[in-house]
Assembly symmetry: C2
């Protein structure tokens, strides 16, 4: 059952106890005392973690002499070390993945005559311009097959067989060694950055298998991209590096700060788009909204990752821009807004369709026999993909190569890509492009969610580029047919001068499709023009993304990542403004009668132990006998404090009463009580149940809370947890929690 949703509480990360020396009086030193040990599936308590960090900082700074200066500086240096090392690491890893993918991909078509490990480009370097490369041989030529039929058959079967072999081994690796390495990883990372605990998502095995499996999956020609998985790989690197240092290992909030920077670096490498990386973090991962320092670190990580990618320079182009476009002219004409906005509308509709299709297929996969045969599913899909793709000329090459060609203007010097520039074959080309787009929509909707690492960006760009180029070709042939029509008045009157750039229409189509699928806005625009270098055309791209998002939002609010988060029921709060319909906090609240609480100066140690054993809640409110609110204590802290008391297990210690507050302590005889006030949290948020529900939701969104307690005139009236708010906000999504088996316990 390697589908990644049964991770909730199987593997408990326990930190070794011998990492700190006890203080002279035998207590655990402050910086480490309040370490919460979260299990996977929990949600961290940001206030608690920030409190830990604060205590630690304070302890470090108050050290005598030079240590009080050096230790904090060292700590900050460690943070920057992780950020910079992750940037360099993912830059180099990204570059070498590109090389691996290129070699594996080329291997499907042929090999280099003088060395097996050369890809087609490396094999043919050093030739003078115009010289034909004879060292790169197709398998038919290499094996000296003379018959044309035999040659074609051999080529096709090697193509399909290798595709199946790559995809199958990727799936086998994922299923066997690292089930968390499947899919894109972005939904999980969004949830984790928001406070979800999922440490096994970043294990060394996951890192290795995700990177290797990604290369195999991309090379197999499946309809998937490498962007999301690269973000996951970058986060794995940052996580593993952060495990070197106590302050990150023990503090979930600090750990997340580093992960946010790593995610930016991942996008930066995936698209060669350092700015896009920062903005992706800002808009999609919603991390930097909380702290400007995090944004700044993301900026640095992103820049360093791009520098190292460019330094490795896998293909000797010294360019970051992946799909360099060169347009005929820098200007565009107002009438072109009509086809572009049309593309925006199409992108919005098809994007929503792709999301719906993907969700339905995911549900079908889960509830059918496919669930038990993940590797077989991957193999069949890759066989179908390879077979169908081999037949359609535009689908045969890697999606990235297709996109690069679709973005390119027709230029007689560069040659014609599969007849795309042939003015007499416009209709055939439009048909072929639309066919490719439809095929890719179906294949992508199926592929995204199988047991292989898979990103959604590149296939979406491919679909959009096909549609956009088709639209461009239609416009171009219209213009050629009626160069003097009033709509083309702003074009030069001579039809031999180009007025329409079909290549740019492909870029617009890609933006529209991406807007419809991801519902990102500003980061998308930045990524797109960092990808293409089409800075002068930023306005049409913006307008098109706007249209596509508007149309898409009208057809369904969620982007594809939010849909997956909702299906897997991760405790992630969408940042959108929530407006209630007049409800108050009372509607959302779990009332006191249903809350499991500890009673100050009443509950005995034995009862407390029973309580802790019976309930798997994160923590418990403490109230006195008149329901007056005393405080909130986490299960973890209660356990730690109880342990530290070294109670006599057999004797009467277990019948002593637990006290938490100074006033209530006096009600119990000194010999009959144990003081647990240390276990109370310093930061507790209280509200009245009459406050508007939207304020409650807003506080959870902005302050990253885990729970809010409701009191009235000092008396506890109820509580709300993050899970309640998440359920409220995902209520409207029809398949919420469809892919989640074990709803976690909560209070």
């Amino acid at each position: 059952m390697p589908t990644g949703y049964r991770h909730t509480r199987d593997d408990d990360i326990v930190y070794p106890e011998d990492e700190y020396e006890l203080t002279e009086d035998g207590r655990i030193p402050i910086p480490y005392r309040r370490t919460a040990k979260y299990k996977d599936g929990n949600t961290i308590d940001w206030l608690h973690e920030e409190g830990l960090e604060r205590e630690r900082n304070h302890a470090l700074r108050s050290q005598a002499g030079i240590r009080g200066i050096l230790l904090p500086a060292l700590e900050s240096a460690r943070l920057w070390f992780i950020v910079i090392a992750t940037g360099i690491g993912i830059g180099i890893a990204g570059a070498w993945l590109d090389v691996l993918v290129k070699w594996l991909g080329d291997l499907r078509e042929g090999r280099c005559s003088y060395g097996f490990f050369y890809n087609s480009n490396a094999c043919c370097t050093g030739l003078s311009p115009g010289e034909l490369c004879e060292d790169w041989q197709s398998w038919g030529d290499y094996l000296r097959i003379k018959s044309i039929l035999g040659h074609s058959l051999l080529q096709a079967s090697i193509y399909v067989v290798l595709a199946i072999a790559f995809a199958g081994s990727a799936a086998y690796l994922v299923v066997t060694y690292a089930p968390h390495a499947f899919h894109t990883g972005i939904p999980e990372i969004k949830a984790i950055l928001g406070g979800y605990v999922f440490d096994s998502f970043f294990s060394p095995w996951t890192l290795l298998i995700k990177a290797l499996g990604l290369a195999l999956a991309v090379a197999s020609g499946l309809s998937l991209g490498k962007e999301g998985p690269l973000v996951h790989v970058a986060c794995c690197m940052a996580y593993l590096l952060s495990q070197l240092f106590k302050e990150f290992r023990h503090n979930e909030a600090q750990k997340r700060r580093v992960l946010a920077a790593a995610a930016a670096a991942g996008v930066s490498v995936a698209f060669g788009s350092p700015l896009g990386g920062v903005l992706f973090g800002l808009e999609e991962l919603d991390t930097f909204a909380n702290e400007s320092d995090v944004m700044w670190r993301g900026f640095v990580a992103s820049a360093i990752a791009a520098v190292s990618l460019q330094w490795v320079n896998p293909f000797g182009t010294t360019k970051l821009v992946l799909f360099q476009v060169t347009f005929v002219s820098d200007t565009w004409r107002l009438f072109e807004l009509i086809p572009w906005i049309t593309l925006g509308v199409i992108g919005g509709i098809l994007g929503s369709l792709l999301i719906k299709l993907n969700v339905e297929i995911a549900l079908y996969r889960r509830n059918s026999v496919l669930n038990d045969w993940p590797v077989l599913e991957v193999i069949s899909v890759s066989a179908v993909t390879a077979a169908v793709s081999y037949l359609i000329v535009f689908a045969r090459v890697q999606t990235s190569e297709l996109v690069a060609n679709l973005f390119q203007e027709c230029d007689s010097a560069k040659g014609d890509y599969h007849g795309l520039c042939n003015p007499t074959a416009t209709l055939e080309n439009v048909f072929l492009l639309c066919l490719t787009a439809i095929l890719k929509i179906v294949l992508t909707a199926w592929t995204f969610g199988m047991m292989v690492p898979a990103g959604i960006f590149l296939p979406t760009i491919g679909i959009g580029a096909c549609l956009g180029r088709a639209m461009g070709l239609i416009m171009q042939s219209l213009y050629r047919a009626h160069p003097t029509a009033w709509i083309f008045l702003s074009c030069p009157p001579d039809p031999s001068v180009r007025c329409i750039s079909p290549g740019f229409y492909a870029v617009i189509g890609a933006s529209a499709m991406l807007g419809g699928v991801t519902r990102m806005t500003i980061s998308l625009v930045v990524i797109l023009f960092e990808l293409t270098g089409a800075l002068s055309h930023v306005l049409p791209i913006m307008i098109c993304v706007m249209t596509s998002k508007w149309v898409g939002d009208a057809l369904g609010k969620e982007g594809i990542y939010s849909a997956w988060i909702a299906m897997r029921r991760y405790p992630w709060l969408p940042p959108a403004t929530y407006r209630d319909a007049g409800e108050t906090g009372a509607t959302l609240m779990k009332p006191l009668a249903r809350v499991v609480a500890i009673r100050d100066a009443v509950t005995t140690v034995r009862e407390l132990r029973a309580l802790l054993a019976a309930h798997d809640f994160h923590g418990f409110p403490v109230i006195d006998s008149h329901n007056e609110f005393v405080g909130y204590a986490t299960k973890q802290e209660l356990g730690t404090v109880l342990e530290r008391l070294q109670l006599d297990e057999s004797g009467g210690d277990l019948d002593k009463t637990c006290t938490f507050s100074a006033t209530n302590r006096l009600r119990v005889d000194a010999l009959e009580r144990v003081d647990l006030s240390d276990a109370l949290e310093a930061s507790v948020i209280q509200l009245r149940k009459e406050v508007p529900q939207e304020l409650v939701v807003n506080m959870f969104q902005k302050l990253n809370l885990r729970q809010i307690l409701f009191t009235h005139a000092g008396k506890l009236t109820g509580l709300v947890t993050k899970r309640d708010v998440v359920d409220l906000l995902t209520r409207q999504f029809p398949h919420a929690a469809a892919l989640c088996e074990h709803p976690p316990h909560r209070q």
Copy 2:
């Protein structure tokens, strides 16, 4: 005394009372009932405003039939109308300002022979390439002055006299009609978006004078730019448009949402940088962090503003990119990082220096005789600027023209700009560029803060471009002298092939200087490459901005806008993460003993009236006789509710007791009490005074609060207001509140 700091509570905006019809039972209808009337100088209560909005929305939606659907839709349409109209308006205004500035600026050197109102470009259109333009005549030629000395003297004196006339009239207009139109406006807008109330900052007069004065000030050749003021103009437009509709007039939170979008549109037009506008709003104005919808609206406003600017197309170039750069090659070499990082360091140092100088001059201006003669100061500075600038060739032209030329590569086809490309005059050029930079630093530090509309961006870019170009020239001459040195190994061995692009060094210099002065990061990078089109060089720009910010932050944490905010003591919370040194909320809190509170079921109407008259606080906590916290009521609400009761002024009504809660109401005889529970706020945040101080600060930053009440076991222990937090966070700034005369009353 027109210096803009005495606006605190002079002009009270009172909304006409006849805007709504009373309900059948004679009460004010819900949507308008709780309208707070803030005075300038106050801080809005976001929770209160959001509550109003919620009630309004709820009332609209719950209307019967078609009205319940139409009214909310209409409301959303109004919002979009304002956003789109502001975008179009500022786009057109920005374009015409450009035209006006160009004409006024050209007027200083000459006139068009066939029409006074043509600028030099318009005058010379329609010529075939290579033809000399004879229609544009210098004043000397126009007046037929033959003697060379007389010609030069006439030119110089007309140049200086017109500069003084323009600057003087700008200052006169500002001082006489709209004192708030001086300076950049960004600090005020930051504060206003954060909740500061300053309605007179957006008056129609301010709009008019700021736009006109800006054109005059820029044309006068003073060392200032148009960016900040354009943001202010855009915000004025949005504000005035929003006044058309009740829902914005009555709701400060809604008003601010519209202003945030307008600010993005302003930057978009100022730099021709639609993306940069959104990011500026995001990073510098810190507005979109709160809500993704606001970001989305800023995106739309920004795009529309850029489209209308491009549509008006003031100079017939059909380009948004202001300073199009064309580099010799798309690649850069690793060794160039050395001069670039050096530029970053220089930018950081000089940026900090410029801020310090500017602050000192502002303080000197305030405390010296200059304070009483603002127009005279502007006239003298413009005379000095004009005279000195006329002598130095690079400083004579408009800064924008200088920057455009410095960013340009040397190209024999385009001609040589004042000998900048002469390889034998490198030393002279470097000296001249450095001199220009130093001159501009001093002039800018003085000009930014005088009584004219003034932006800091363009002068800073000018300074940086001079320094960068100088560095580029030094590197170029080094390379020419030693083309085979090991450091230049990566360059082509033939020195006639260009390896160093001094034009791009100027771009880098500008980034460095901007980074040092504004301390922005990502929005700066985006603005810079939208300005220049230098997408392939995004990495060096990022690295340079990073370095400059690091160096600058080491020399002083504030950017120039934050420095001005601190000096004027606006209640604006820096978004930076605050870490306390172990303090709790108790340190920050005003303890109960010093809080003016209303006593539930004790205070009489007469006492309450006296209380309201005696204290100018925003609101008062309500407690009962045992200090139990009952609620919080604003002064405004108390007044409204008291008025509504229509008490008998002469009779015994004034001795009735005010009750606020159900429990305490029972303690007073029914005839002896008036019920004021309506006046209590629905959303009140309570904390315990033991919480860490950083949590308190964090809640103020993220939730935009106005006050937090501290309670313990239901009893009020104290309160903290936004002002206390602002004072805490600006404590480290040496000249905090130096430009603020009347510290506002607060509780």
